[in-house]
């Protein structure tokens, strides 16, 4: 019966030894992840040995001491010495295991003297990264197209593990992450760093890594966070420190430029076609997960936008809820996530799509009034 199981366990061992297996924990790319992997393999082998002994005796008994072979039952039913021995031996093994585990744990929790700090914020269903003391922050969204998820297009190599803007960190530097959330609990997990930390709303958790090799590392949200929990991946690019510094400077310059551009745009008006086409793409990327591509929402969970009172009759309330969100619900404040242009476009789109024909155009300047409230 379970000989099959044991042989399955043994069959895993060679896989376990190879570095990047699809069947075993990754050894990762930091000293800590290597230590975690070693702990995992040690305890795994201990379990295998104990299993072999215990199941071995059990199977021997099943083969040797069966009634069909005419084996007569013995009458012993206790032996204090044996019982003390098999209580004490596991205890000693555990102590031996606890020592390296404790050392690794203490090292993992020591977030002092970091070189770079990044604030990681989860929200339904995307990650936000902010470089501490720098003017660089952005959202990182799933980049896999909906058509691939719905099986209408061939799935790409990194299906569900790709984002529009990956997090970038330096190699050989101690990078500290401050992890928190805007709404429900998420969990930031990158297996190659052996990091998994819950993002709790209203509290900040700390974790760190020191990546040894440049590369692209992928992970996922690990804590059930609602409908699209399976669709908020994490992608981290580790670059050489100089390359990273140059990248960060460039991003800061780009962010400043974009801000200036926003101010310039305030004075300009966009045409309806422009607003509608930009609006549709923003809507599908940011709103459709809840309100659905047809604007009808999910009854009892996410409200419909089609022909609703607020959209048809209360323009101000509509702009306000998109820009500032609604506290105590899943409706986020998109004022901090989208540019003025994108906000204007998506609101215009919602006011004119799916038969909502209000004919209203909302411009960047209109949105700006609500942003500064």
């Amino acid at each position: 019966m379970s000989i099959r199981l044991i042989s399955a366990l043994i069959a895993v061992a060679p896989f376990a030894a190879s570095a990047q297996s699809q069947l075993n924990m990754t050894q990762g790319v930091s000293e800590i992840s290597q230590r975690v992997y070693d702990l995992h393999m040690t305890i795994f082998y201990i379990c295998c040995v104990i299993g072999l002994i215990v199941f071995g005796i059990m199977f021997a008994s099943m083969i040797l001491h069966r009634k069909s072979k005419g084996h007569q039952p013995a009458t012993f039913h206790e032996n204090v010495k044996v019982e003390i021995i098999w209580t004490a031996i596991p205890f000693i093994i555990l102590v031996g295991m606890a020592i390296p585990a404790t050392k690794t744990l203490i090292a993992m929790e020591d977030t002092s003297e970091s070189d770079v700090t990044i604030i990681v914020t989860g929200s339904q269903w995307k990650w936000h990264y902010k470089y501490f003391d720098r003017d660089v922050e952005y959202y990182s969204l799933l980049a896999t197209p909906q058509e691939q998820i719905n099986n209408r297009l061939q799935k790409g190599e990194n299906y569900l593990l790709e984002v529009d803007r990956p997090l970038v960190i330096p190699t050989d530097r101690k990078v500290r992450f401050l992890v928190t959330s805007d709404d429900v609990i998420h969990s930031w997990w990158v297996p190659d760093f052996a990091i998994k930390k819950d993002a709790n709303p209203g509290f900040i958790n700390e974790i760190w890594t020191k990546v040894e090799q440049p590369g692209i590392y992928r992970g996922q949200c690990a804590e059930l966070c609602g409908k699209d929990h399976g669709f908020m991946p994490i992608v981290v690019i580790a670059k050489e420190p100089e390359e990273f510094a140059a990248w960060l400077d460039e991003q800061e310059a780009l962010a400043l430029e974009a801000k200036a551009e926003e101010q310039r745009l305030l004075a300009l008006s966009m045409s309806k076609d422009e607003l509608m086409s930009l609006g549709e793409s923003v809507y599908l990327g940011n709103c459709a997960a809840c309100h659905q591509p047809n604007g009808e929402g999910i009854p009892g969970v996410f409200p419909s936008l089609k022909g609703t009172d607020m959209i048809l009759n209360d323009r101000a309330a509509h702009i306000d809820i998109v820009v500032n969100g609604k506290r105590g619900t899943a409706m986020q404040a998109f004022g901090s996530q989208l540019s003025l242009r994108e906000l204007a476009a998506v609101i215009t789109y919602e006011r004119n799509a799916w038969g909502n024909n209000t004919g209203d155009l909302v411009q960047a300047a209109d949105v700006n009034e609500f942003l500064n409230r």
Binding site: L5, L23, L39, M62, R66, E78, E83, Q220, C225
Partner: protein, 528 residues
């Protein structure tokens, strides 16, 4: 004397016992209530199982095919709730009702009317829970662990029904537990001292105390979720001075002892079956009793090992790691004792024994992955991955559920008066054994490779293993229909069972006729 008692029984029967549906609705007889519990739990097992089939069908290949993610989350949530509170726990209460009075020589449970009530509120609890799936917005979708604030601010209105049904399940469990404790303490036959009680009675006795200790804690957690959602409190909302992690501490202070509630009676069952079919006394009875107590005591000190990634202070992490590792010592003692019981016995392999031996091996594998999960640094990788899903299904399906099946086969002759079909029983066993491992063993691998749990769609490198797992799931699901067939066949007829159908079985339950008459031990037996 015995004729007088017999006449009284008959008298009672002819004039007062209602028939048809009201017989079952008003029954206060421990055997009838036990049967109600067992059938109810089997129906719930099939309901929860069909939800698992939906989950595995969606996960058969990458991409979204059958259900949308919101419905997928409802399936994982309700599958968990139905299996824990609807299938496993009521099955154990059913076994307790049937067997504890027969094992300690008592005429019935101590509180028969409460017994009736504790069963009959259960169907309503599950009607409410399952009915909520048909509401606008669907049923609960926040996982059976209902972590705040996903279950408060961000949940749909079915949460109110969910909380109500959890309360009813809790009340039912508490009443069942009180009944077991009062029965065991007061109604043992003369000469049946505590240290002479069968292991099944002992483990249930300890389980009942665990239930009374922790079900109110679950009720608190559920009530706080309700008031946070509807009455403006902020227990779990940082904006109002609360803390979402507080919820997890409260939940798991219930949740971890709950895990042992679902496994201790299994230990009792296996400790009855292995000696019976090894034709040898249970090895180390008293150390078994002490180990049960030790496991129960430790179960209150390890709850936060479910929460290593929530950002606890390192000192707390170390404490919970050590305490959790310590649990493997008494659990190991139990496994060693079962193996030592088999050693140099005279073993035969009827279906109950097959399930009991599979329990020992597969539960131990679940224990090994549990020990791995206790190692906090490694847990950071395992946590919330399919490795955890594999771990707790090994303990709960090939552990608890296998032991319940072993118990059913072991005592079916006593319950029905017929022998079950041994060939079909063995077919059921082998189909279940193979499929349960195809189903759950590969989950370890996808978990280690980085697949999170509770996701409706996954990256391409997990595709092959998920397909194997789904095949295993469909096979395991179908195998249970064999069990249904065996049960129906055995209830309706079959070879006449003797009073004691198992040569090596021990205990008072084998001294009464098969099927056990409605009233037994009206005159207490003498235990030497």
């Amino acid at each position: 004397m015995s004729t007088a008692v017999g006449e009284m029984t008959n008298h009672d029967h002819h004039h007062h016992a209602p028939s048809g549906f009201t017989r079952w609705l008003f029954t206060t007889n421990h055997k009838e209530i036990g049967s109600l519990y067992l059938w109810f739990s089997f129906i719930m097992f099939l309901v929860g199982g069909s939800m698992a089939m939906v989950i595995r069908a969606e996960l058969f290949e990458p991409g979204l095919q059958l259900v949308d993610p919101h419905f997928f989350n409802q399936m994982t949530t309700v599958h968990g709730l139905v299996m824990v509170f609807g299938a496993v726990m009521p099955a154990f209460v059913g076994l307790a009702n049937w067997m504890i009075p027969l094992m300690i020589g008592a005429p019935d449970m101590a509180l028969p009317r409460m017994n009736n009530w504790s069963f009959w509120i259960l169907p309503f609890a599950f009607m409410i829970l399952l009915g909520s799936l048909f509401m606008d917005g669907g049923g609960p979708a926040f996982g059976w662990t209902f972590y705040a604030p996903l279950s408060t601010t961000y949940s749909t209105d079915s949460t109110a029904l969910f909380v109500f049904s959890v309360h009813i399940m809790g009340i039912s469990s508490i009443m069942g537990a009180i009944n077991v404790i009062v029965t065991v303490m007061n109604m043992r036959a003369p000469g049946m001292t505590y240290m002479k009680m069968p292991m099944f009675v002992w483990t249930w006795f300890v389980t009942a105390f665990l239930l009374i200790a922790v079900m109110p804690v679950l009720a608190c957690a559920a009530t706080m979720v309700l008031t946070d959602k509807y009455f403006g409190t902020s227990f779990f909302d940082a904006a109002g001075g609360g803390d979402p992690v507080l919820f997890q501490h409260i939940f798991w202070f219930f949740g971890h002892p709950e895990v042992y509630i679902m496994i201790l009676p299994s230990f009792g069952i296996v400790s009855a079956i292995i000696p019976a079919f090894s034709r040898k006394k249970l090895f180390g009875y008293s150390s078994m009793v002490y180990a049960t107590g030790a496991i129960a005591g430790l179960s209150f000190l390890v709850w936060a090992h479910h929460m290593f990634t929530t950002g606890m202070p390192v000192g707390a992490e170390i404490f919970f790691m050590y305490a959790t590792m310590l649990i493997s010592v008494p659990t190991g003692v139990k496994v060693f004792n079962w193996v030592a019981t088999m050693w140099r016995g005279s073993i035969s392999f009827e279906t109950p024994m097959l399930f009991a031996m599979a329990f020992v091996v597969l539960f131990t594998i679940g224990g090994f992955s549990g020990l791995m999960l206790a190692i906090t640094p490694a847990d950071f990788q395992y946590h919330d991955s399919y490795f955890v899903v594999a771990h707790f299904h090994y303990v709960l399906v090939s552990g608890a559920v296998f032991s319940i099946m072993a118990a059913a086969y072991y005592w079916l002759p006593k319950w029905t008066g017929h022998m079950y079909d041994e060939k079909l029983g063995r077919l059921h066993f082998w189909c279940s054994l193979i499929s349960v491992n195809v189903l759950f063993f590969p989950m370890h691998f996808v978990g280690l490779a980085g697949m999170p749990r509770r996701i409706p769609d996954y990256a391409l490198q997990f595709a092959d293993i998920n397909q194997i797992v789904s095949y295993g799931a469909f096979a395991f699901g179908l195998s249970q229909l064999i069990f249904l067939w065996v049960l129906i066949k055995c209830v309706r007829g079959g070879e006449k069972a003797p009073d004691k159908p198992w040569e090596g079985a021990e205990g008072l339950e084998w001294t009464v006729p098969s099927p056990a008459p409605l009233h037994t031990f009206e005159t207490p037996p003498e235990v030497k």
